[in-house]
């Protein structure tokens, strides 16, 4: 267990800046998930921590000791790879012992007992004499975990460890991994591009884009309190709807489609002087009505209805716009909506986000009752 500190860490490959000045403090025992689009530098960050990649700039410290120049062999870390990277010629037992043999001077008996303990915890004790080739994906995954656990490292690193599993197994392993990490309390950095994993497993999420850190916060904070448009769009599936608008007389206006959205003074104030804005609203926050009632209601055409059973996914657009500019609305599965017809949507002011169109910074985030309770802690 240890604290892990990334201080202004940068990684350049020739002319590509893969990781750009990233600083994160990871607490002892914390489960941090790194997410971001493909190529944003997640793996590179992880590999720098592991010592598999040199650090171009900045420093990485484990429990205060700067480890920039320590080779992977000497950092007290364990890593679980996407491909598991089990040694195919060794039995499960040998796989799990390998790290102990190479990096410690433990006695044989102690190694065996550690391996067996870990195997029991992971419920693979009856597989110890098998070779990885004879195991299912999920079992291999557990062995890979076991191999990391027995070493009792200061930090666990995991690079998309579940992405090779099928959906069902994945959700099972997700829960198990999370349980294990909590039990062992080992500081963990976990890379994924899967939102569900990020949201459900992490103590905090770190969101990267183009090598730059966007936000480090609890899952729900990221969801409800994104610091910028990128995070708002990245977290949540289907993603938040965005409309480019200008601020005119306290109203958000898109003159092309005669869209006018009056703002209350609270929101007005938080927006400040910026006039080129983006209005954001999550699909599930849009309400579908039969007729206009308030100033926040707008007529729309439903283009496509995708019935999912439990909910209907609607692609809607404002009248007189083309099919390119549809946006998402989610309504209840029992609600009968017909494609091609006109409806009215309501964009509740309590649920809107407003971003600076130029910088992307969030100027206003939605209202939440019970805010501290909902956001502060991981549930």
């Amino acid at each position: 267990m240890a604290e892990l500190t990334l201080g202004n860490v940068t990684k350049r490959f020739d002319d590509v800046v893969a990781v750009d000045d990233v600083s994160i403090e990871i607490d002892d025992g914390e489960f941090l998930v790194l997410v971001g689009p493909s190529g944003c530098g997640k793996s590179t960050t992880l590999r720098m921590i592991a010592g598999l990649e040199t650090i171009s700039d900045g420093r990485i410290a484990i429990d205060g000791d700067v480890v920039n120049d320590a080779p992977a062999q000497q950092r007290d870390i364990a890593m679980v790879f996407q491909s598991y990277a089990l040694y195919p010629h060794m039995t499960v037992r040998e796989n799990m012992r390998f790290g102990l043999e190479e990096s410690t001077t433990l006695e044989k008996a102690e190694m065996d007992s550690r391996v067996e303990d870990a195997a029991e915890t992971l419920e693979i004790d009856d597989l110890l004499e098998r070779k990885p080739g004879e195991l299912s994906g999920g079992q291999q995954q557990r062995v890979a975990l076991g191999r990391a656990i027995v070493r009792d490292p200061a930090v666990f690193l995991m690079d998309e460890p579940l992405s090779n599993l099928d959906a069902k197994l994945r959700s099972g392993m997700r829960t198990e991994l999370q349980r294990l990490q909590e039990e062992l309390g080992v500081t963990t950095v976990y890379v994924t591009h899967d939102q569900t994993e990020a949201m459900t497993m992490s103590d905090r999420i770190a969101i990267l884009d183009g090598g730059e850190l966007q936000q480090v916060a609890t899952p729900l904070e990221c969801y409800h309190r994104p610091t910028n448009r990128f995070v708002a769009g990245f977290i949540g599936e289907p993603s938040m709807n965005f409309f480019d608008v200008s601020l005119e007389d306290g109203r958000l206006v898109d003159s092309d489609i005669e869209f006018e959205y009056p703002l209350s003074s609270v929101v007005r104030d938080s927006v400040g002087e910026t006039t080129e804005l983006v209005l954001g609203i999550r699909p599930e926050d849009v309400e579908l009505l039969d007729a206009r009632e308030t100033a926040h209601d707008f007529p729309v055409v439903v283009d496509v209805v995708e019935p999912m059973g439990n909910e209907n996914n609607l692609l809607v657009r404002f009248p007189d716009t083309d099919t390119e500019s549809t946006f998402n609305v989610i309504v209840d599965g029992m609600c009968h909506v017909e494609a091609g017809k006109r409806y009215v949507i309501r964009i509740p002011e309590s649920a809107i986000h407003v971003f600076d169109r130029e910088t992307g910074a969030a100027l206003h985030n939605r209202e939440i009752e019970d805010e501290t309770e909902l956001l502060a802690s991981r549930v």
Binding site: M1, G29, D65, Q74, D76, T105, E183, V186
Partner: protein, 349 residues
């Protein structure tokens, strides 16, 4: 108490019921683990992960650690291959001949300038090129046909493949003995078979007649190496997804057209790699000709490899032999270099 339990108790985490109460700070409230506890596990003082100097960094860099692995073989190979090629070049610039030691003081290009006027060299060079091209093309074509036939989901595929490839396992010495006898005009299999099936007029003195000698050599070499082309093509064919065959079928193409238009064009990588290797085999066909004809196969079948041996080792004209060897090397290089470059461009290296 088991290892995991120790870990658990150390973390202060007890059972699942408490989990929801956990806040992010409780990790910090725990007793920090002592360094000694971890230190005793490690052989190398690995818990001491303070910054080390550049030297340590260098020592642990992959580049440095790789050296002991590749350098000794590289030196051994480098000396024998490139050292020898260089030395050969040097010898070719002297006028060394006879049974004394070479004199390196006076280096000229004389050996090279006399080549164009040496009909023996010209013939050997021409034959080498003909052999290279004809043998390669014929082997590729036969190999491709074999590969396509074998790829038809046939029974005994393994056996057939094994048989077609078998000649390649044999030494040139062995195959030359077989073929010099196969070609025997009166008792050899070829003519015997031709006359039994009533093609008497085709029987010839295959390796006696200078008009057919080179062709006969090429034919025998093709027999030996077309299996190789087959194996390469087969791998190429297997790499083409079934869906391409199926897509072509669904698109309405018959078998022949499917192969001609969809499959064969996709085998260009196989063709290149097989062609390069076959050409190199052709350049090395010395043993075969040497066994069949000795070192003087006549102008119609002389190749640079044989000529080099003859000039150097029978006539003791070492410098000239070395010059011929250099030309041979350049020919190999001219085949291989573009191939390697191509591979490099494709990122296959």
């Amino acid at each position: 108490m088991g290892f995991i339990d120790r870990l658990r108790s150390r973390t202060g985490r007890r059972d699942r019921e408490d989990r929801s109460e956990r806040s992010r700070t409780d990790g910090q409230s725990e007793e920090p683990q002592t360094d000694g506890q971890r230190g005793e596990l490690r052989t190398d003082g690995g818990s001491d992960v303070r910054t080390r100097g550049g030297l340590s960094r260098l020592k642990h860099s992959d580049a440095v650690q790789a050296v002991p692995f590749w350098l000794p073989p590289a030196l051994l190979m480098g000396w024998f291959v490139y050292g020898a090629v260089g030395w050969n070049l040097l010898i070719s610039l002297t006028d060394w001949s006879g049974l004394s030691q070479p004199d390196y003081t006076n280096l000229t290009l004389e050996m090279y300038t006399q080549m164009p006027n040496d009909p023996s060299f010209v013939a050997a060079f021409r034959n080498t090129v003909v052999l290279l091209v004809a043998f390669t093309v014929v082997s590729l074509v036969i190999g491709l046909v074999l590969a396509i036939l074998v790829d038809q989901n046939i029974r005994f595929e393994n056996t057939l493949r094994t048989i077609y490839l078998l000649p390649m396992a044999l030494s040139f010495v062995v195959t030359a003995i077989f073929w010099s006898w196969m070609y025997n005009p009166s008792t050899g299999t070829i003519n015997v078979v031709l006359s039994t099936i009533g093609l008497d007029f085709l029987t010839m003195d295959w390796i006696g007649d200078p008009r057919t000698r080179l062709a006969a050599i090429i034919f025998a070499l093709t027999w030996q190496f077309s299996g190789y082309a087959m194996v390469v093509y087969l791998a190429g064919l297997r790499a083409i997804p079934d869906s391409h065959y199926e897509a072509a079928k669904v698109d309405g193409a018959g078998s022949l057209r499917m192969y001609w238009r969809v499959i064969v064009p996709q085998l260009s990588a196989s063709t290149t790699s097989a062609a390069v290797v076959l050409m190199v085999f052709a350049l090395k066909a010395f043993d075969f000709i040497f066994i069949m004809f000795g070192d003087n196969p006549g102008r119609s079948a002389d190749i640079l490899a044989v000529m080099m041996f003859r000039v150097a080792f029978s006539r003791t004209q070492w410098a000239y032999g070395a010059a011929v060897a250099t030309i041979l090397f350049l020919m190999a290089l001219s085949v291989v270099a573009p191939y390697l470059y191509l591979q490099y461009k494709r990122g296959d290296l």
